[in-house]
């Protein structure tokens, strides 16, 4: 690990100030900024040890859990999850589990008990890909790590890589689970930064790799996620997270589906679907939603929705199985959601 400046701050204002105060010329991407916020550290310290991230200044924001960013609030206006809430706190919260099961399950199925105690919700959605060519600096070709250097995964060992939202510059998959739950429930992101506070739809947080895979989010340097808000919705109760992986616990998804359903008898009034493990970013499957909305939820409709979800899939040598696995995961998730007794 390279040496770094260290600051510990007590509130959001001080955090942003500590981030911008050095006058360093910054990249346009928050994830590649030499200044990094430190919460649970489960991504940042890991990647700094690997020399993948080279923070020159680390700003410890853990004290922000004493502020509004450390709170979970539930009311008729919906759910507000402070960004400094730890994964385990949100996963165990009775209102989260009861009213937004897909959120509780996505968090519960992620990582290990220790990591869930450490990792903040804000940091969780910003975790970096597990692509081994990104994580191992002995590979010279990684457009995410060194823009313009190429992509070793395209013709490398790409079993774990994405089939949706990929580009010819990067096929790394987005590794998280919680993001898919937020995406499916139309969550919003509260952000604070040097130019003031703003709020965006969660769907606007992550960027597709395109020609700039090193730009992973729309956060500007020094911007900080302060909270996520999830609106109340008739489909939130009938929601779940299904995760398929190589081992049954403590493993990243090969394919996952966050689904939320509003049924009227056997007919789909509204449905929300987000897919994980198969895509370069948290992936909303709008084509699948369109196939289901207003239709009878039967075997055939569900199959056609799964087909639609993966119609644009682009597989490489080792990850073609994800297309079929992803479809089956979605089919099973929809069946399970329909069968929920709520």
């Amino acid at each position: 690990m390279r040496p770094f400046q260290f600051a510990r701050v007590e509130d959001v204002k001080a955090a942003i100030h500590a981030h911008t105060g050095g006058g360093r010329a910054d990249d346009v991407s928050a994830s590649n900024s030499p200044n990094q916020y430190l919460a649970g550290g489960t991504t940042l310290l890991d990647l700094m040890k690997l020399d993948v991230m080279r923070a020159a200044r680390v700003i410890d924001i853990n004290a922000l859990q004493q502020t509004n960013s450390g709170k979970i609030e539930f009311s008729s206006k919906g759910l507000r999850l402070g960004a400094m809430v730890r994964m385990a706190q949100a996963a165990d919260h009775p209102d989260v589990r009861k009213h937004f099961p897909v959120i509780g399950q996505a968090l519960q199925l992620a990582a290990s008990a220790q990591i869930r105690n450490m990792a903040s919700l804000g940091g969780n959605v910003l975790q970096r890909t597990r692509c081994s060519y990104f994580r191992d600096t002995s590979y010279p070709n990684c457009n995410k790590r060194i823009p313009g250097s190429g992509c070793a995964a395209l013709d490398g060992f790409n079993r774990s890589h994405a089939v949706l939202g990929v580009s010819d510059q990067c096929i790394a998959s987005y590794p998280g689970d919680f993001a898919q739950a937020l995406l499916a429930l139309d969550a919003r992101v509260e952000i604070d930064g040097p130019t003031g506070a703003r709020e965006i739809p969660f769907a606007g947080l992550h960027r597709p790799p395109g020609k700039t895979p090193h730009l992973e989010t729309t956060l500007a340097p020094a911007e900080l996620i302060t909270a996520f808000s999830v609106p109340p919705a008739p489909w939130a109760r009938r929601s779940l997270f299904l995760k398929i992986r190589d081992r049954e616990s403590y493993e990243f998804a090969l394919a996952s589906a966050a689904v939320a359903l509003e049924l009227d008898g056997g007919t789909v009034k509204q449905v929300r679907i987000a897919l994980g493990g198969v895509a370069a970013l948290p992936w909303r499957a709008k084509e699948a939603e369109a196939q289901l909305t207003g239709r009878q939820l039967d075997e055939q409709t569900i199959e056609s929705a799964a087909t639609a979800a993966f119609a644009q899939a682009r597989a490489r040598e080792h990850n073609a199985f994800k297309v079929e696995l992803g479809k089956r995961a979605l089919v099973r998730a929809l069946h399970q959601a329909a069968a929920l007794e709520i």
Partner: protein, 202 residues
């Protein structure tokens, strides 16, 4: 290593004494804004940290990159916590911080300043009698090589305290962050079930 009780707020003193440095280096753009509570401006300078480990206060000075695991092992001589992968994947370094199990290899020691840390050395009572979980691991032969065992035991203690040690499948799920290359898993589950009621009595 020095032990000391603090009767005054070291953090406040640090914040005040460093504020003057900060005003030059960090507050250059607008001095009106709030200063960070603690700042290490030269990456090569050691940081001063107070850690409370197993009920004893340790005032230490070390490189800012030092993890809590390295602080325990290299600066305090508490070698019970083990370094397995050093990347948060194996659980051998598990300790309790403020009674919650965390990975000490992915925790900066500087971030743990002022926190309450419990390691395997702090579980037994002062008369040497073992914690029920330690005794249960012995009774059930819940280890072979023993390298993962300190992490397993601390994780198991937390697992019971969290209320996640109900049925076997729940224990396995909530203990999945601790790998055992000797595959003592069935015996670990048995040990946790033995210790669970005894911990509640105690």
């Amino acid at each position: 290593m020095t032990d000391q009780t603090r009767g005054w707020s070291r953090r406040n003193l640090l914040a005040t004494s460093i504020a003057s440095t900060v005003s030059v280096t960090l507050l250059g753009r607008s001095g009106a804004e709030a200063a960070p509570a603690t700042v290490q401006t030269n990456p090569r300078d050691p940081v001063n940290v107070t850690l409370r480990v197993n009920g004893r206060q340790h005032r230490l000075s070390f490189d800012v990159r030092t993890t809590l695991l390295d602080a325990l092992r290299e600066h305090m001589g508490l070698t019970g916590s083990k370094k397995g992968c050093d990347h948060g994947q194996c659980g051998a370094c598990t300790v309790l911080v403020n009674d919650r199990r965390v990975l000490s290899c992915l925790t900066l020691a500087a971030s743990a300043d002022g926190q309450e840390v419990t390691t395997i050395e702090g579980l037994a009572q002062s008369d040497g009698s073992l914690h029920p979980m330690q005794q249960a691991f012995i009774d059930h032969d819940a280890f072979q090589c023993g390298y993962c065992t300190p992490g397993q035991i601390l994780s198991a203690v937390a697992c019971v305290k969290e209320g996640h040690a109900g049925v076997d499948v729940e224990i396995r799920e909530y203990m999945s962050g601790n790998l055992c290359r000797c595959a003592a898993y069935p015996n670990i589950v048995d040990a946790i079930k033995q210790a669970r009621p005894k911990m509640k009595e105690a």
